[in-house]
Amino acid sequence: MSGRDQGSRFVLPAVIALSLVTVYPVLSVLYLSLHRKLLIFDISEFTGFDNYRFLLADDRFWNAFGNTAYFTMMSVSLELLLGLGIALLLNRTFRFKGVMTALVLVPWAIPTVVSARMWEWIYNTDFGILNHLLGMKINWLGSPFWAMNAAVVMDVWKTTPFVAILLLAGLKMIPQDLYQAARIDGAGRWSIFGRITLPLLMPVVIVVLIFRTMDAFRVFDAVYVLTGGGPANTTETLSIYAYKVLFQTLQFGYGSTLAVVVFLCVGAISLLYLGALRAEVEP
């Protein structure tokens, strides 16, 4: 048949669209980050690395960085543990498994904004069901200690389904005869889990970690709607700080610098994991 390269015209629209709406903006944000740009006054001047120098000395940036790191570590590790538990459960045989899978998917499908408002109501100090059940009067979203952890719990609720579904698919790929062989050899439950299930599940665990860590690190709507970054910036993540600088104070230069830092961190995280994945798959 004619044309050795006829597939390219099929692929071209997608490549052009992706270049215009993701690649070009990323290059543009790099360019903006080297400027002092105030949208309202039409000010735009090249300032080299001034923004980055300012960033290194910016306490609020380091605070947001710490918050994001804490949020990411806490929620990803909790999701992994809980998700693994749910996946192991769903991997057992019982009736109504389809219904159960659908139930587990409900938090995943609910809009993040809706789930933030749901939890805001649950956490309400005076009329919230959480304080009612605990018989306490904790100001969950108003206290610097609890607010971030409250956001973590909400995120864990929302995203554990994704983790569980992926891990379940991984569990199903482990050949059953391996388990039988181990049982015949007299291996106990825990040693089967530790020596067969976990090692064989490792590549999927790393894939899950890649997706979830990147998602958690760029978290915006969940925390923004739940706390707005407060109290006293204790829940302000990097994306929230960048958003506020960009669209509340309209400093497009410095805001872009913050956005670039989020981009670089996410890139570094994915490279780290991909290295781990390669080491895992090709021993």
């Binding site: 709406v21 894939v207 990097l238």
Partner: protein, 270 residues
């Protein structure tokens, strides 16, 4: 005994997953006076007042229509562009195929916050600010990696012989794509379509940034900025949450297997 433990664990997971939403549903039918009292947990006299106030008092139907238009257009566009690309990548000779796949995959990892400021400037310059097109354009591109990824897997599973046979019968590659390959990949189209629709229905950051007035506001932004004159109207928010979540819950129950397939596509098998 073991059986009882299993049942208990299943019930606990179900309660954890569904509890918060059920509590929101209960809140949505509580009269205002009972919202500020616990106990009783359940309303003594369930009321639809909050639903009435949400569906008539605020332009909420407008927001739902906006979200529906944005999500539908995005889904159609993303599937059209994405299926073309996926077909090309799975079945045809494409120069730099590996590089393009890598490019598509890495584009899906770009954090939205890193692209929102330049996109805002572009959209403002094009005069598209506060229009639904701004959102459709952005969402279409942001969902392309997912569509391409899911559909490439589906097209790959269709035997090459079928494609070649259709070409021998006189189809051009495009005709073969439309008449033979697309119908065969229908399950994949449904899977990708659902995931794209849910993403566009739920997206918040771009919607918050690119819309300014009620004429183009979508549901998530409306719920985040729910008008509260003096106090937060928890009952109304709960009713609105239930209204926009029910369609999603229905979709999840009907298409549960497709969704699982879409979420795991490539990430586990590949």
């Amino acid at each position: 005994m073991k059986r009882a433990g299993l049942v208990l664990a299943v019930l606990a997971v179900a309660a954890w997953c569904l509890g918060p939403f059920l509590w929101q549903a209960v809140t949505s039918v509580k009269p205002d006076a009972e919202l500020t009292h616990l106990p009783p947990l359940l309303p003594t006299e369930p009321t639809l007042a909050h639903y009435r106030s949400v569906l008539s008092g605020t332009p909420f139907l407008r927001f739902i229509a906006n979200s529906a238009v944005v999500a539908t257009c995005t889904t159609l566009l993303s599937l059209a562009i994405g299926s073309l690309a996926a077909f090309g990548l799975a079945k045809l000779r494409v120069r730099f195929k590996g590089l393009i796949l890598l490019f598509v995959l890495s584009a899906s990892m770009f954090p939205p916050i890193a692209t929102v400021s330049p996109l805002y400037i572009i959209i403002r310059a094009l005069g598209l600010r506060d229009t639904l097109w701004a959102l459709i354009m952005t969402y279409t591109t942001f969902t392309l990696p997912l569509t391409v990824w899911v559909l490439t897997n589906f097209f790959r599973e269709i035997p090459d012989e079928i494609y070649r046979a259709s070409r021998v019968d006189g189809c051009s590659s495009f005709q073969s794509f439309v008449r033979v390959m697309l119908p065969l990949a229908a399950p994949g189209i449904v899977t990708a379509g659902i995931l794209v629709f849910i993403f566009s229905w739920n997206e918040f950051l771009f919607a918050l940034t690119f819309t300014a007035t009620e004429s183009s506001r979508t549901v998530p932004v409306a719920i985040a900025l729910f008008p509260g004159m003096h106090e937060v109207p928890w009952g109304d928010i709960a009713a609105a949450s239930v209204v926009v979540t029910i369609p999603l819950v229905v979709v999840v129950f009907i298409f549960q297997r497709r969704i699982v397939e879409g979420l795991t596509a490539g990430s586990v098998k590949g």
